[in-house]
């Protein structure tokens, strides 16, 4: 009995970062974790509205760069307040943003830090590639606003694949990375905080959990976070290349396509009008190699690295894609384009109660629109001219007063004229494939 008890104590002790070296590392990490309070605006429902939120972050450099999630601090943040481990508050600014990996980079206001002599620790990165399932990890952050909360769990799966086409404030995420899955409790507010090993090394940035599920949390692996952080510090954004192939897992289809085991990636679909489509690729083709390097896309979690390989080429790079179709294997030359989000630039015409967004190439493709002309309605305010006339979210405005509309600027110019001298305006919009006319009245 005593023995059993001792054994239990030992197990518990091993799981906690108590020994000298590890506790120092862990304590230093705790001193590098911050709470982030953010106020940002949104162009929702035909008005410019402010929202506030709370998240977590971790200081990753001596000059006060903070890594957090893209869904914690967005491009429309107007006020970012960081609470340091010593409970001092410092304002910060957004340095860079990358929704594809759900990462954002902030910088503590250097003047404020210098003037008030704020002290903070800098966290160290570990190697997420070397994590094993079952390894103990800790999540540190501000779940539900509860500052400085540490939860513990294990690595449930070091290479989980999922992509979400609207996961980060309506932007796409997860296409170019796999995720660490953990059962350490991840709640709203944990977002942007670090997932660390017992010696306090960052192995992931906590990002999301399944709501309604028990302890299914996900973090961006540190190898990716480090790379993105460097890119964001340098350019404020990560530029990626695009060729327009939608991959599928090859699983079980090797025989059908007569392939060697662990060779090739299935192309499920080719975006119309994309470089790959221009080059003659189509759904059902097998990608065997990129620039002569064999690819292996048998399982879903093998797809993000392949996509990332293409994405990390400079824009305009010519790629040699080795494609197998039926019994023929042919090399196709494809020149990459810049990857853009389905979410275009947004604005609002408050006098009409109309929120608008540029029609992006992916949005046009997704909705089978003939072109990228027009401006998308993303919200209307009840009782305002746009809503009264019958416009609603999803309409694409193509003409106003017989003048073709191709950008937000076109609408804002007409709205300005309307504000100066309000008079009836005839709007032509497309809802799905139906063209309708609306009259906006003062």
């Amino acid at each position: 009995m005593t023995r059993l008890l001792l054994a239990l104590v030992a197990v518990v002790a091993a799981a906690l970062p108590v020994s000298g070296e590890t506790s120092r590392g862990f304590r230093q990490l705790l001193d590098a974790v911050v709470r982030i309070d953010v106020r940002e605006f949104a162009y929702e429902a035909g008005a410019k509205r402010f929202q506030s939120g709370v998240g977590s972050g971790v200081i990753g450099s001596e000059d006060g760069l903070i890594l957090t999630n893209a869904h914690v601090v967005g491009l429309r943040a107007v006020e970012i307040n960081v609470t340091l481990a010593n409970l001092e508050r410092v304002s910060a600014e957004l340095v860079g943003w990358d929704h594809w990996t759900d990462l954002a980079l902030l910088r503590l206001d250097p003047e404020e830090v210098a003037n008030k002599g704020h002290k903070f620790a800098v966290a160290k990165f570990g190697d997420s590639e070397r994590l094993d399932p079952g390894e103990t990890v800790y999540a540190v952050g501000t779940p539900h606003g509860l500052t400085r909360t540490v939860t513990r769990g294990i690595i449930s799966n070091p290479r989980r694949f999922f992509a979400d086409s609207r996961g980060v404030k309506g932007y796409e995420t997860g296409q170019f990375n796999t995720w660490l899955q953990t059962d350490a409790a991840i709640n709203p507010g944990n977002s942007g905080g670090p997932l660390v090993t017992s010696n306090g090394r960052i192995v992931g940035i906590n990002s999301r959990g399944y709501s309604g599920a028990d302890n299914l949390g996900f973090a961006i692996p540190s190898t990716i976070a480090k790379r993105v952080m460097a890119g964001l510090a340098e350019d404020g954004a990560i530029t990626r290349s695009y060729v327009g192939i939608v991959p599928g897992a090859l699983r079980d289809l090797e025989d059908f396509y007569d392939l060697e085991l662990n060779r090739g990636m299935l192309i499920n679909s080719v975006d119309p009008g994309s470089p790959a489509a221009e080059a003659g690729l189509r759904g059902g083709d097998i990608l065997l190699a990129i620039n002569g390097e064999p690819v292996d896309g048998r399982f879903p979690e093998q797809l993000p690295p392949i996509k990332n390989l293409i994405a990390s080429q400079p824009i305009g790079t010519q790629l040699r894609l080795t494609i197998k179709r039926a019994y023929a294997t042919v090399d196709h030359r494809v020149v990459t384009e810049e990857l853009v989000s389905r979410v275009g630039e947004e604005s609002v015409v408050e006098v009409w109660g109309l929120s608008i967004r540029e029609v992006s190439r992916p949005y046009a493709r997704e909705n089978q629109l003939p072109d990228e002309e027009g401006v998308l309605v993303i919200g209307v305010q009840r009782g305002f001219p746009a809503a009264v006339a019958g416009l609603s979210s999803g309409d694409v405005i193509t003409k106003i007063n017989d003048q073709p509309i191709s950008s937000i600027a076109d609408i804002l110019a007409i709205a300005q004229a309307y504000e100066n001298e309000p008079q009836q305006v005839l709007v032509e919009a497309r809802r799905k494939f139906r063209v309708s006319l609306y009259v906006l009245k003062p």
Binding site: L426, F433, V439
Partner: protein, 468 residues
């Protein structure tokens, strides 16, 4: 001279009408006699996995045993080949007695379905035309008393019952439609006035918005419809137009074709802005490739404001105007010429358009069920390709019409309306080729079937494991 007598004549008329109203009509006798025009029609729809037995009520329109059923009586998805085992029951007769019937077809313009009663079942049937007033175009007056026939279900031998109400409203939707204060006939059953003259056929419930109060969810607005008794009814002139339109084939061919899509009625504010006065307009969103509309010179975004010189009427609700245009087209024949007045860049243009012959519809497309795969594919037709935003001059591939739940293909993720582009790696150029490939795959006993399907403009490879 005439004017001097007019008031007196009017007064006499008024008194005689009053007298007719006052002298209570002999409803039981009238109902008994008019039951000879009413039948209950039972039919079976054969599906891939099962069959459903349906019942509808219809009226007899001639002495050859022709019965009409409203368009909603038979599911739009069912093709004539799937409709079997028509049985005709007489109201109140034992349900063990029935006559056989046969499906004739659906008329494109009136949308009525036509069913023929077998000769042995035609005795004692009376066409509804026997009860038409001297003025077949006459409409019931507002507040006029009307009465109709309802039928119970089969378990009660389709027993007839009496319903009575008053006319509350007359509308063009764009079919001439009457609305009564409450249910006045079964759906598909006839309605009469107090003189026993036929005034219409029960069409649908009259949707009334109701608030539902319950302990769980409060104050939710719902529309309540009575499924058994119709308060809305198609008026006699509308119904009688079916008499001369018995189709000689199940699809009601020839069907005229114009070739436009996305017909959007302009709101009154827009009509005013465009200077259409009391008339209205229809925005044409799309012109189909190779259609008569295209040949006739119409362009997307043209606004149709008149047909053969007649301005479009301001029917309410707005959407009815679009239906009015479609009816104007459907009541004509392929080869007829319609002149459209359109508004383009603020200019009025007159465009004569010769109507064509409608391309094959999805309902007419050939199809086959493959039991081993749990899959029905059908021929790709013009409208399938148009709906998928591709070039309709290329009718390649086949369309998935049915997927058996938990079947190999269902499990693989194939869904109804997917467009199959390749079967086992071979591009599908025609329906015949698809059937050949699937037959071959079924016969080969191969353990898998691989399809390349297109859905929403994206393709995907789907692999189904086939049980040996």
């Amino acid at each position: 001279m005439i004017s001097k007598f007019l008031p007196r004549i009017a007064a006499v008329l008024a008194i005689s009408c009053y007298a007719a109203e006052a002298q209570s009509p002999d409803y039981p006798a009238m109902l008994e006699e008019r039951l000879a025009s009413v039948v209950a029609v039972e039919f079976t729809i054969e599906h891939e996995m099962d069959r459903t037995v349906n019942t509808a009520y219809g009226i007899v329109i001639d002495n050859e045993g022709t019965v009409i059923l409203e368009s909603g009586a038979i599911s739009d998805r069912a093709t004539p080949n799937q409709l079997t085992d028509f049985k005709i029951y007489r109201p109140g007769q034992p349900s063990t007695q029935f006559a056989r019937g046969e499906y004739v077809g659906q008329d494109g313009y009136t949308t009525w379905h036509f069913v023929k009663v077998a000769p042995e079942g035609r005795h004692n049937l009376k066409p509804i035309t026997d009860f038409v007033s001297n003025d077949p175009g006459a409409l019931p007056a507002m507040a006029e008393t009307v009465w109709g026939i309802g039928l119970r279900q089969k378990d009660e031998d389709f027993a007839p019952y009496f319903l009575r109400s008053q006319v509350s409203m007359i509308q063009r939707l764009p079919q001439l439609t009457g609305i009564a204060l409450q249910g006045v006939a079964g759906r598909g059953c006839p309605i009469f006035n107090n003189r026993g003259e036929f005034v219409g056929v029960g069409a649908s419930g009259f949707g009334q918005r109701m608030m539902i109060y319950s302990q769980r969810r409060r104050g939710e607005m719902s529309v309540l419809l009575n499924p058994d008794e119709a308060a809305g009814f198609r008026l006699a002139p509308e119904v009688l137009s079916a008499v001369g339109r018995i189709p000689d084939n199940p699809f009601g061919r020839p069907l005229p074709w114009f070739g436009i899509d996305g017909i959007d009625p302009v709101a009154p504010e827009v009509a005013e802005f465009l200077g259409l006065g009391s008339a209205t307009g229809l925005v044409i969103s799309e012109i189909m490739q190779g259609s008569p509309a295209e040949t006739g010179g119409l362009s997307p975004r043209d606004i149709i404001i008149a047909i053969d010189g007649r301005p479009l009427p301001r029917l309410k609700p707005d959407q009815v105007v679009a239906a009015h245009l479609m009816r104007e087209i459907l009541k004509r024949q392929p080869g007829d010429v319609i002149t459209f007045t359109i508004l383009r860049d603020k200019l009025e243009l007159e465009l004569p358009v010769e109507l064509g012959d409608a391309p094959k519809t999805p309902k007419e497309s050939e199809r086959r069920y493959f039991e081993d795969f749990g899959l029905t594919v059908r021929e790709t037709v013009f409208s399938d390709v148009v709906a998928r935003r591709e070039d309709p001059s290329q009718l390649s591939g086949v369309i998935v019409h049915f997927v058996k739940p938990s079947s190999p293909l269902g499990t693989a993720g194939v869904r109804v309306d997917d467009w199959v582009k390749e079967i086992d790696g071979t591009p599908v150029d025609s329906y015949a080729q698809a059937v050949e490939l699937l037959d071959e795959a079924e016969a080969s006993g191969r353990p898998e079937l691989v399809l390349l399907v297109s859905r929403g403009g994206e393709t995907a490879v789907m692999r189904a494991k086939i049980d040996a």
